[in-house]
């Protein structure tokens, strides 16, 4: 791989990688069982440079911001490289957000260019939120049908400048990306990630999980997500590895992709990993009793042999059929975005498929800790990566306290939010809001959260403030949304849920009509953002002088209630 310590920016490193690995396969794109495209590093460059030149011809210059809202595909990475090449700042947004939410973040980021796919643009174009984001002056749309109404956009495929673009240098301390960790409904949290953040994170991660030519990474997590950006874009491309994109995430086609493309690494969220486990377990349970007995014995042997470290060649021989279903070359499944249950991790490890469980957050530049597999520990999230200082602040008797981090990978701050930044990064230490403790061997064990938020099994961060807008003007005295675990802390990150706390009007009952109204509003939210139940409180909410709800005080008042009885189903 490139020696990233010599580089100043993502664009500079990628530029050299495209030349160094010119003949290696860079990208493979498939739609269902059909391979659509296969590009070498040279061909990647040939696609990206005309786009970079056209951006420069359109006066996109150093420090200007360009957003990408696309599903995982080759044009995502090609566009991102063109933006970095021209010295731009990338704003990767989640394609699963609603159009209004996307416009809100486009406005907040001050992006002047938007690169998106035609089906997404149709929804964006029709959204009333468009009027507010006049900062977006150029829209490039991929894969638009021949006679499509582009509604003011230009075709990505035709947006090509003649001649060579001029590479624009950036410093390590310059912002490379603005990544939104939350805040679509309330206060957007745009993490300003520097070039140094990414360069350092890449060095740390690839020291444990190396990429090289011949390695194939299956990109399933959205590329706007910090993990896929690192291990599905920047990491593999600076090492000459190949990235495989699937245009559909139907489980049957994902399963087929492993043997078809001989996948080496894949990143998954816990939900998908659990689904994979369920599918495998069903197949194992269906084995005839005799075969099942042999299979279980082989798993036990594998477990004993790999106790201190993975032994891929032995595991692949012992449990041949399982490994062949994954293509026979799968080294590690990277899991992230949310907490994974230890028994799921152990299930895969016992089959000889190590799962790199770790812990991180966007603000820290993806991963803070990761399991180094020596030995594999399903009950922890691993040890701090090289270059990461991790401290537990104000530990209780059992050693549990807030996890804080200091590293060159920690973001520069939140865009336009100096106060929030000052609360989050204190003397260079990032306050994660997560609770944990170190065991005697230096492994971090997570133990719940200090902050009022949840992370779903799909890896989505949900802040209560972001979903409250949907309940505005609800005919009740007062309302407030909380993470249930914030009110009733438990030393776990499994099964986190949101609850709606209501203070009803005098004489008002929580009856069928109100329940229906809450349900109707709740259904307007994307499914993973929905509240789980209602909690009634018969007293005024504590408020500041400016009438904002004092959430922490209110949470303390609610904490005396018995959670099991207090949460009413919807």
């Amino acid at each position: 791989m490139l020696d990233l310590s010599k580089y100043q920016s993502i664009g500079e490193a990628l530029r050299d990688a495209l030349d160094q690995y010119a003949n290696e396969v860079c990208l493979i794109e498939a739609d269902r069982d059909r391979e659509k495209e296969r590009l070498t590093y040279r061909e990647f460059k040939e696609r990206a440079h005309p786009l970079a030149k056209a951006l420069q011809d359109g006066s996109f210059s150093s420090g200007d911001r360009a957003s990408i809202i696309m599903t995982n595909q080759s044009k995502w990475l090609i566009s991102a490289y063109a933006i970095f090449f021209t010295g731009g700042v990338l704003v990767p947004l989640d394609y699963k957000l609603t159009a209004d939410e996307q416009w809100q973040l486009l406005k907040h980021s001050s992006a002047s260019v938007l690169i998106t796919e035609y089906p997404i643009w149709r929804q964006l174009g029709a959204s009333p939120g468009r009027a507010a984001a006049s900062n977006v002056r150029t829209v490039l749309v991929t894969e638009a049908p021949a006679n499509a109404d582009l509604d003011g956009a230009q075709r990505w495929e035709e947006f090509r400048g003649a001649g060579e673009p001029v590479f624009v240098a950036r410093k390590r301390s310059d912002t490379a990306c603005i990544v939104y960790s939350s805040g679509t409904g309330g206060r957007p949290k745009g993490c300003m990630m520097t070039h140094e953040n990414y360069l350092e994170q890449c060095v740390a991660l690839t020291s444990i999980y190396p990429f090289c030519p011949g390695v194939r990474y299956l990109s399933i997590l959205p590329t706007n997500h910090a993990i896929d950006f690192m291990v599905g874009f920047f990491g593999p491309l600076t090492c000459g590895a190949a990235v495989v994109h699937l245009r559909t995430l139907r489980p049957e086609f994902v399963r087929e992709a492993f043997p078809k493309y001989k996948i080496t690494y894949v990143s998954l969220v816990p939900l998908v990993l659990k689904n994979l486990q369920k599918g495998l377990q069903t197949r194992f349970d269906a084995l005839p009793p005799g075969k099942q007995k042999v299979f279980n014995a082989l798993v036990r042997v594998n477990k004993a042999l790999t106790k201190s470290q993975p032994l891929p060649s032995i595991s692949r021989r012992l449990l041949k059929q399982v490994h062949e279903a994954f293509g026979g070359e799968l080294r590690t499944i990277i899991v992230g975005g949310a907490f994974t249950e230890p028994q799921t991790l152990q299930f895969f490890y016992d089959l000889g498929i190590p799962v790199a469980n770790g812990y991180g957050l966007t603000e820290a530049g993806t991963a803070i800790t990761v399991n180094d597999l020596r030995p594999f520990r399903a009950d922890t999230v691993g040890k701090p990566l090289p270059g990461m200082e991790v401290r537990i602040v104000n530990p209780a008797e059992d050693g549990v306290g807030e996890v804080t981090v200091r590293s060159k990978t920690v973001m520069a701050g939140y865009l336009n939010e100096p106060e929030l930044t000052a609360e989050t990064i204190i003397d260079g230490w990032l306050q994660t809001g997560d609770l944990g403790r170190f065991d005697g061997t230096g492994h971090l064990q997570l133990a719940g959260r200090k902050k009022n938020m949840i992370v779903t099994e799909e890896g989505k961060n949900i802040y209560p403030e972001d979903v409250e807008t949907v309940f505005e003007s609800l005919r009740v005295g007062e309302f407030c949304v909380f993470a249930a675990n914030y009110i009733w802390p438990k030393r776990s990150m499994i099964g986190e849920k949101l609850v709606l706390v209501l203070h009803l009007e005098p004489g008002q009952q929580y009856g069928e009509e109100l329940r229906r109204e809450i349900n109707a509003r709740n259904n307007r939210l994307l499914n993973y953002k929905r509240i789980h139940g209602v909690v009634l409180l018969d007293e005024d909410f504590p408020r500041t002088a400016s009438l904002k709800i004092k959430r922490n005080v209110l949470a303390e008042r609610l904490a005396v209630l018995d959670s099991a009885a207090a949460i009413l189903p919807l």
Binding site: T248, L249, R250, P251, E457, N527
Partner: protein, 80 residues
């Protein structure tokens, strides 16, 4: 050619069968995440069943943000 009503009914019947619910227990306006208690992956599995039944391909983007049977049936109808 099926009418939208017929397509909707077939979607409801298939979803009920797939998730082992009594036929007739689902309505066009039902939110399938909530009514069936399923996650996004199980939804993708249901879509594959529907594709096989109707003999169409439904790209993932077509069902992005869709959570009720009626809209799902409309998206299917437009590709029949």
């Amino acid at each position: 050619m099926r009418t939208l009503e017929q397509t909707t009914q077939e979607v409801l019947d298939l979803a009920a069968k797939h998730f082992q619910l009594p036929v007739g227990s689902l309505a066009p306006g039902d939110d399938f995440f909530k009514k069936l208690g399923i996650d996004s992956l199980q939804t993708l599995e249901m879509l594959s069943r529907l594709e096989n039944h109707f003999g169409i391909e439904l790209p993932d983007y077509e069902v992005q943000g869709v959570s009720d049977f009626k809209t799902l049936a409309e998206r299917i109808q437009s590709r029949l």
